[in-house]
Amino acid sequence: MSVEAAVDIGPLIVDLSVGRGPLFADFPFESQYVTSIIRVSLYVSGIAVFLSTLVSLPIALVVGFTDFIGKRLVTAVINTGMGFPSVVVGLVVLFTVSNQGPLGHLNLVFTKEAMIISQVILATPPITGISLAAVSSVDESVRDAAYAMGGTRLDVALVVVKEARYGLATAVLAGFGRAISEVGSVLIVGGNIAGANGISKTRTLTTAIRQEARQGRYDTAMVLGAVLLVLVLVVNALVMRLGDGGTVR
């Protein structure tokens, strides 16, 4: 019985792996193919979110702490940015880094760096917007107390960041979720390149899924989709865990 089952499964696996060479257990891809895709996804989105956070946090703190004319307009602009269509961002970045574009001499087109640029543009508005909401919701008395105890502006900012850490973690996660799950811009500026040796250069999980779907291989696309979901879940769990670690002293 079990022998029959093995025979049945065999051809199925081979069929899924057309042109991909040796198999890793019953996974329909060569392991290093998938590993390299995951690495590219994490590298590009991770760096993009890191850079976005560096930009977003100061903006959120400054806008959140100060009152100025046009503050509502600034907030509105940030919130509008959350809705940037990724394909449009991809197109704009492509025209910028293309060899005919203003940054053409840097040879960035179809590289990870170009993908990072477009993802920074995509991830910054949600991180800024949600951080701003988190910072604004910190009770004013906390800030007043920090000032009263003779804190500098930096001390006060740190206290607020600490108070708002859950909201800020959510902001970073939202930015990461936006970055790692978008396909429009990374496909246009990255080109979905994998080498002949099966190692991804600019292929991410999302562009790989799109490629499998283009070829009508929906089953393998689903496998990659599951990998992406698990990945996002793990990153969320890790970041939330870090947040918990902060409370237990």
């Binding site: 042109g19 290093q32 590993t35 080498g195 190692i199 250069k201 070829q215 009508g216």
Partner: protein, 308 residues
């Protein structure tokens, strides 16, 4: 597998550039020039999705110690990327679009590489009754007359260009509910066609590689199986003109074109099979001169308009 993975992790530790560097060291002895460089190739989904490209590129990479970045798009998009100087060499399958590309001065040194053919596929019960027709245009005219579902690529790809040329020849301006423009790749279009029991024009290679998952059958054969020549599907390769885009890697492009059209490259194309069937037929090598591959179709030195 474990060992392989460890090696892989170690290699990644060095970084991708380090990886390319390693290959370069191994091959660098006495061979200066292109080693370590990257060639950006824009090509069509059909060469990529059938797996042919990996088969061709791996030996080329080893031979020269270079990396080939292959970007697969429809023929129209592949040529557009090259127009912007973002790729070094293009391998596509729509002669009319290739000719435009050359006339505009973007492409140089065009060569024929290989061919396969298009087939018209549809459901086995064939409601339009086109099975066995000798003429592709007659079959399409019948499909239009019967208003049975026809799924079009609609993406300015080589296959789409061929389809539009055939409609034109058939004297039909396709439109209406039965004609669906999808903007999708060939594999996806075959799936959609299968699900709707419709008809579509497909390159033989992609159809063969997807045949196991569908009920679609070939109703009008291409020239490989004795069908009309109007369904032939020739592939060409061109270097991007370094006089227009000085950033392109022209030397490496020409090395690649040389490799693809060499006896070795041609043999690899001939030997490549999917599901036991040959997908592409090499045509770069011939004892008789074929000057037409170098210039736009119908071009002649006397015709001053063509040169403009």
């Amino acid at each position: 597998m474990k060992i392989q993975r460890r090696e892989f992790v170690a290699a990644l530790g060095v970084g991708t550039t380090g990886l390319a560097g390693c290959t370069a060291f191994g091959q660098n002895d006495g061979e200066a020039g292109v080693t370590g460089e990257t060639l950006t190739l824009t090509t069509t989904t059909s060469t990529y999705d059938t797996g042919l490209l990996d088969e061709l590129n791996a030996p080329f990479q080893d031979m020269y110690g270079v990396t080939v970045d292959a970007i697969s798009k429809g023929t129209g998009a592949a040529l557009e990327t090259a127009r912007n100087g973002d790729s070094d060499v293009v391998m596509v399958h729509a002669r009319s679009l290739e000719d435009d590309f050359m006339r505009e001065g973007y492409g140089v040194n065009r060569r024929d590489i290989m061919f396969n053919d298009f087939v018209i596929v549809g459901p086995e019960d064939d409601p339009a009754g086109i099975a066995g027709m000798e003429s592709a245009t007659e079959a399409l005219a019948t499909i239009a007359e019967e208003e049975v579902t026809f799924v079009s690529r609609g993406d300015n790809s080589g296959t789409h260009t061929k389809e539009l040329a055939l409609w034109d020849e058939a004297g039909v301006d396709p439109g209406g509910d039965w004609y669906q423009e999808t903007g999708q790749g060939m594999g996806q279009v075959l799936n959609m066609t299968n699900q709707q029991s419709g008809y579509t024009l497909s390159d033989r290679g992609t159809y063969l590689s997807r045949r196991a998952d569908s009920n679609l059958v070939i109703l009008v054969q291409g020239p490989i199986e004795g069908g009309p020549d109007s369904l032939s599907n020739p592939y060409g390769i061109m270097a991007v003109n370094p006089a227009v885009h000085e950033n392109v890697n022209y030397d490496l492009s020409m090395a690649y074109i040389g490799y693809i059209t060499s006896p070795e490259g041609q043999e690899r194309i001939a030997e490549y099979t999917a599901n036991g069937e040959q997908l592409f037929f090499p045509e770069a090598l011939s004892e008789d001169p074929d000057f037409e591959q170098y210039v736009p179709e119908g071009w002649s030195a006397d015709d001053s308009d063509e040169r403009a």
